[in-house]
């Protein structure tokens, strides 16, 4: 039996083990689950070493880029959690990561969620020279964005006018989610088709 054929059989049997969960939890599923978790954890350990630690840290230190000592020290701080007396040092590394991550994201979010949102919503409602459906589309965009924003306004209870506008916002949100649901389900079905094709074509050769 060639290695490739062995791999196909192994993948097919493990796929069936995972599918068996559709019936109920059973030893085959447990075996496949534990194997999947163990193999993937080991794989990501190696992956992270060769793709993160070595090129970003070790190679830079070997090139005498001494500023990379800072991440090395912060990494060492993370490991201090194993020593209860100095475990508090790990908080410095965590604070650094959360703070820098959130700080960098502010600009990205302002750019993409604030300015781009304004830019995309600034549509002309002037019907002169435009087909009625284009104007209607622009109007719906305007109403949908404004009412959606009102729904996510937390400083005022959803009563009175605010509540009415927020309800309109919820309708727009649910229409959006419905469309997204249908679109994503189609993508998931294609994943299932891919797996069934593997079983029926690559493994059994039936199709």
């Amino acid at each position: 039996m060639s290695l490739e054929l062995f791999g196909t059989w192994l993948a097919a049997l493990l796929t069936l083990c995972i599918f068996s969960f559709l019936y109920k939890d059973n030893p085959f599923y447990k075996f496949a689950e534990h194997l999947f978790v163990g193999v993937s954890a080991g794989y990501w350990l190696c992956y992270n070493y060769w793709n993160m630690v070595k090129p970003n840290l070790i190679d830079n230190l070997e090139a005498h880029n001494w500023e990379y000592l800072l991440p090395l020290i912060l990494s060492a701080f993370m490991l201090m959690r194993l020593i209860p007396k100095v475990g508090w040092l790990s908080r410095w590394a965590i604070a650094f990561m959360i703070g820098s991550g959130a700080g960098l994201m502010i600009i990205t979010y302002l750019q993409s969620n604030f300015l781009e949102q304004i830019k995309s919503t600034l549509v002309s409602l002037d019907p002169t020279g435009l087909p009625w459906y284009v104007v209607l589309n622009s109007f719906l965009i305007f109403v949908g964005v404004v009412s959606g924003l009102v729904y996510f306004f937390f400083s005022k209870a959803h009563t009175g006018v605010t509540g009415g506008v927020a309800r309109v916002g919820v309708v727009f949100l649910m229409v959006c989610f419905g469309a997204s649901f249908g679109y994503t389900v189609m993508a998931r079905i294609s994943l299932l088709i891919g797996r069934m094709y593997f079983l029926l074509h690559d493994w059994l050769g039936l199709v």
Partner: protein, 405 residues
């Protein structure tokens, strides 16, 4: 009768002369064209070099006047090569090629800042090429400010000012109102149900990294959940996708138990790392749900394609499920399969509501005021567009042009 031969003669002369004249013209033009095709094209003129504005020093813009054989003349130009050297004497290497009709190119190939560069533009046709005179020197300089992002700077200043203002007020003890969220009302009920049933609570903080805003919000909510769980003497299981998130989650849950006055009830083995593989993580969490049978499942944070698998498995075990994510594509699945869902920004509001921390309350208020600014900008923009004024909209598209005008 005497006029007829004269007319005949005139017609005969004209009928002979016209074809001859046409023949002479064709021969003359053909000769001129063939001679234009035989020689290389005329070189470009007025080569101008400019450091590209608003960048980190990695680009130079080269412009020129088209070759006379491109704009007119033989019209047989194929394209232009932009060649660069660090010395006016060469050697010059091609760094960019552009088709005919192009009178500008940007060189972004391995340029160092503060180094003198010289350029020549070479025009090419089928018969050969003709270089321009050498232009330069020019340097690719680093600019401190990207004026194209001026609108981002203004928005950032407004946002941070609002945040600081409201955080300052919250810290002074001023009461800041936040409306109640349906999902949070269910949280206490869900924890109470788990206590009554003697079953654990499963808390999945998403499958993203700690720098993700949704993960940070999830950790804040976990803090409140851990305190409530400790008060009720219930167990909370927190499987983690990311090792750093696990570290933070362990800290937060420990502190929650400490705040509830029950540090000994905390079991660090309940907050554990599974794997950094998406579907292996899902397989493991599904296994936990069917074996441990938690009374309550909380899926709060950033989720991707695994959202429906998790929520459906949880629903099949009969657990109360509360989800919260800002991943727009996953919210529909949680709405379909969970009892309560925190939609998008409600996730951030929930963390502020539960913790009542001045920092979070203040930042939530700041965000609300930014939303008012957003609505105001959209309203003003739409009204100005109705009156045909486009400069307001242009500011959000190309602030640089407005600034320079």
């Amino acid at each position: 009768m005497t006029r007829r031969p004269h007319r005949f003669l005139r017609r005969a002369v004209l009928s002979l002369a016209l074809p001859m004249l046409l023949f002479v013209l064709l021969v003359a033009t053909g000769h001129a064209q063939s001679s234009a095709f035989d020689r290389p094209p005329a070189p470009v003129t007025n080569v101008a070099l400019k450091d590209a504005p608003d960048d980190a020093g990695g680009a130079i813009t080269i412009s020129w006047t088209l070759s006379p054989d491109d704009a007119g003349g033989a019209m047989d130009v194929i394209g232009y090569d932009v060649r660069r050297s660090t010395s006016p004497d060469g050697p010059f290497q091609t760094v960019k090629s552009v088709p005919r009709g192009s009178s500008e190119a940007a060189d972004e190939t391995d340029l160092d800042s503060d180094v003198n560069y010289f350029y020549r533009v070479v025009v090419k046709d089928a018969k050969g090429e003709a270089p321009s005179v050498v232009a330069g020197p020019v340097q690719a300089k680093v600019q401190w400010f990207n004026l194209g992002r001026l609108n981002t700077l203004i928005a950032t200043i407004i946002y941070i000012t609002l945040l600081l203002y409201f955080i300052f007020h919250a810290k002074k003890g001023k009461k800041l109102f936040i409306r109640r969220l349906a999902g949070l009302d269910a949280l206490d009920e869900a924890v109470g149900r788990a206590t009554e049933m003697g079953k654990p609570i499963l808390y999945v903080p998403g499958i993203s990294q700690i720098s993700d805003v949704a993960t940070i919000a999830s950790i804040n909510i976990l803090s409140g959940v851990a305190r409530t769980v400790a008060e009720y003497n219930t167990r909370v299981i927190v499987p983690n996708y990311d090792p750093i998130v696990m570290t933070v989650a362990q800290e937060v849950v420990r502190e929650g138990f400490l705040a509830a006055g029950k540090p000994d009830a905390y079991d660090e083995h309940d907050v554990f790392y599974v794997t950094t593989n998406q579907f292996a993580f899902v397989a493991a969490v599904d296994g936990i749900m069917v074996r441990e049978k938690p009374a309550t499942n909380l899926f709060i944070g950033m989720f991707f394609a695994e959202s429906l698998i998790l929520a459906e498995t949880g629903a099949s075990t009969g657990a109360i499920q509360i989800a919260g994510t800002d991943a727009v594509a996953q919210i529909p699945f949680f709405i379909a399969a969970c009892d309560y869902t925190l939609i998008g920004e409600e996730l951030y509001a929930a963390s502020a509501y539960l913790s009542r921390a001045p920092l979070l309350l203040g930042s939530l208020k700041g965000q609300d005021w930014m939303k008012i600014c957003l609505i105001g900008c959209i309203a003003v923009g739409v009204v100005t567009l109705l009156f045909g004024i486009e400069s307001f909209r242009d500011f959000f598209e190309t602030p640089l042009m407005i600034f320079r005008q």
